[in-house]
Symmetry: C2
Subunit: 428 residues, 2 copies
Amino acid sequence: MPAVSKPADSSDPRLARRSFLGMGAALTGGLALGARPGHAEPQPPSPPADAPWSQSIGPGVVDRPYGRPADTEAGVIRRNVPWLTAGTESSISFSPLQNLHGIITPNGLFFERYHAGRPDVDPDQHRLMIHGLVERPLILTMQDIVRFPSVSRIHFIECPANGGMEWRAAQLNSLQFNHGMISCAEWTGVRLSTLLEEVGVKKEAQWAMVEGADGAHMNRSLPLNKCLDDCLVVYAQNGEALRPEQGYPLRLVVPGWEGNVSIKWLRRIKLGDKPWHSREETSKYTDLMPDGTSRGFTWLIDAKSVITFPCPEKPLGGPGLYEIRGLAWTGNGKVKRVDVSADGGVNWQTARLHEPVLSKALTKFTLPWRWDGTPALLESRVIDETGYVQPTIAQLRKSRGMNSVYHNNSIQTWQVKPDGSVFDVQLG
Amino acid sequence: MPAVSKPADSSDPRLARRSFLGMGAALTGGLALGARPGHAEPQPPSPPADAPWSQSIGPGVVDRPYGRPADTEAGVIRRNVPWLTAGTESSISFSPLQNLHGIITPNGLFFERYHAGRPDVDPDQHRLMIHGLVERPLILTMQDIVRFPSVSRIHFIECPANGGMEWRAAQLNSLQFNHGMISCAEWTGVRLSTLLEEVGVKKEAQWAMVEGADGAHMNRSLPLNKCLDDCLVVYAQNGEALRPEQGYPLRLVVPGWEGNVSIKWLRRIKLGDKPWHSREETSKYTDLMPDGTSRGFTWLIDAKSVITFPCPEKPLGGPGLYEIRGLAWTGNGKVKRVDVSADGGVNWQTARLHEPVLSKALTKFTLPWRWDGTPALLESRVIDETGYVQPTIAQLRKSRGMNSVYHNNSIQTWQVKPDGSVFDVQLG
């Protein structure tokens, strides 16, 4: 265990704030005008000379009728891990969490997961069929669906394989690749319960098979209770139509459950009296236990959190006061508390949660921290409203063994080295 | 006054929902399988044939490392009104509210307002100077600013000219052009109060001059109290770095106040003991009264609402049950209630507000409405948490006269004609 760096006392926010710059300015080029010794009064600063962009007229409105990021942000993109999958068509890309802020993931950077690539669906031709154990089977157009009573909700979607490489001890040394299979957006659509009332659920119905229009015909079984509880059939994401990568023109959102059940390019919902045991829920998305049995239908995303600054991609510039930043979430409802440790879990301090704290959505947390330049082990630990506490990886392995790669919601440890660099480590 | 269409009774949501499709399906092509007369039992439906995109493998992940909308959404863009301004460099573009959902505006469709076009600022060279009546004047780099304690908040920004063409009775017959100078995003940055604590505010300071790095050096005066209350110096919008159109790499966000004070490409904050009476707050952004005097510093965005469906761009398909949808907002805090009328303000029914209802953010409202095919006059009226009630345009004109074009927050009337088309009208 390396030397412990005590978390900063954040009881004096004013002092804390001053110190953020006091030690930082010299490192980053910030200029404290008038703080020069020998002058009783501050120097009146001279404004910096006008930059070229302040001396000219730029392009006007609707030069970009649909906007895009600044060219200098070209490195902020989704990335994949080439060795992880045979090709890119049945694969994953990771969201650059190290460059993101707040709880909304912009649509262009929302992580991707395909089973047969990205279909380009014609919304005018797209249909949703609802059949099986229903009174009035229906085939709906997009216009039909948009006409139903709408609901907008902010929810995360996480792939259960998020953290799977870490579980297998691959040292990618990256926030993006360790945790980037999670994103969060405002979804707008119709409650699945509304559509099921429309078709009339037969008494015998207990399950729904939900199926996509992609080349994989990706499908999963869902218990009817969850369908009637909070599932949404959505057509918009962060205000605009879904992106093709996210299921355009129609997807399911199953709040708080593993992402693969939130079927994209949704074309069919069939009600039945038992689960389908589809290819995706037998060959994939089951958890192999130490005794050789498989746990299926482990849908719930348990509480999880991660520190997004500092992280391997965003090291520390030198000793001083910093704001530790991170995200927490739980499929069980709301985040109740996040604790942060700088000594690998020996001492903990409660972080500040930022409003709004929404059910089954990302929650932002922060904590001021004075780094003295000695090695540190940064960790965050979330407790959700059910009282569930995010486990260590050792605790998870004790209960699950090593075979299962899904649902690694363990505490992430970032090792801070004296030069400020940050590494992904696993504590014993 | 045209014949009055009574709002639907929404006390039986189940009935209401069934009717949404009952009358809509035939119009839009939706197929009720098994509802055919002469059959005691529903017909087992045949799944539609696989579409081409269901029979092939699409492009894989990171085909688009940064995503973009579906090609079929190409018409969903910001638009300008060519006759409104001499050129596009000092002009406005309007957000396509008729195509948007929920409270978040995607970054690509956030409305634009330039005074000298869009500067392409190099974030490494960008500086924020804070000086004037301060103890320790400072010039900050972007790295300095990002290091300060961060805050994320969802707030709208509205140009006070939103509704100005309508005020002048230009019949553009468009939701986009009547109301599209408003957008809403999750902003991340540092509280301006934090930066002002850093520099130390002198006792005499009462005002701040805030200035942009664009070619117009766009600047405004702000009272210090507002700066210390809830102003934010932000670098991120909906999770990612600000877009160039929105002030990349740094802008001010002045929650609830007219958009032009939320200075983009923010480069300077100077504290003083009186306002600057800058060009933008004398030649523009003042309100000419009937007696020839000008009201200045009318920053507050009073409560306002608008029905976004139906609207001129989204007419009704035929008689039946619909969901009226809209947005409400107020610079005074939270929306408390929204009422909807279908008869030009004679009878009102309270709409449902959708969570989260956040301070100085867009709030979504909906109300089921059965349209019987007769002419109707749809209106929404918001009441905010201070008790302020959105006025009619006649009320506003009585108090202001006709000269002032800013801050038209009056009730919008949409006239629904028997063929379902929707027109912008002003009631006497």
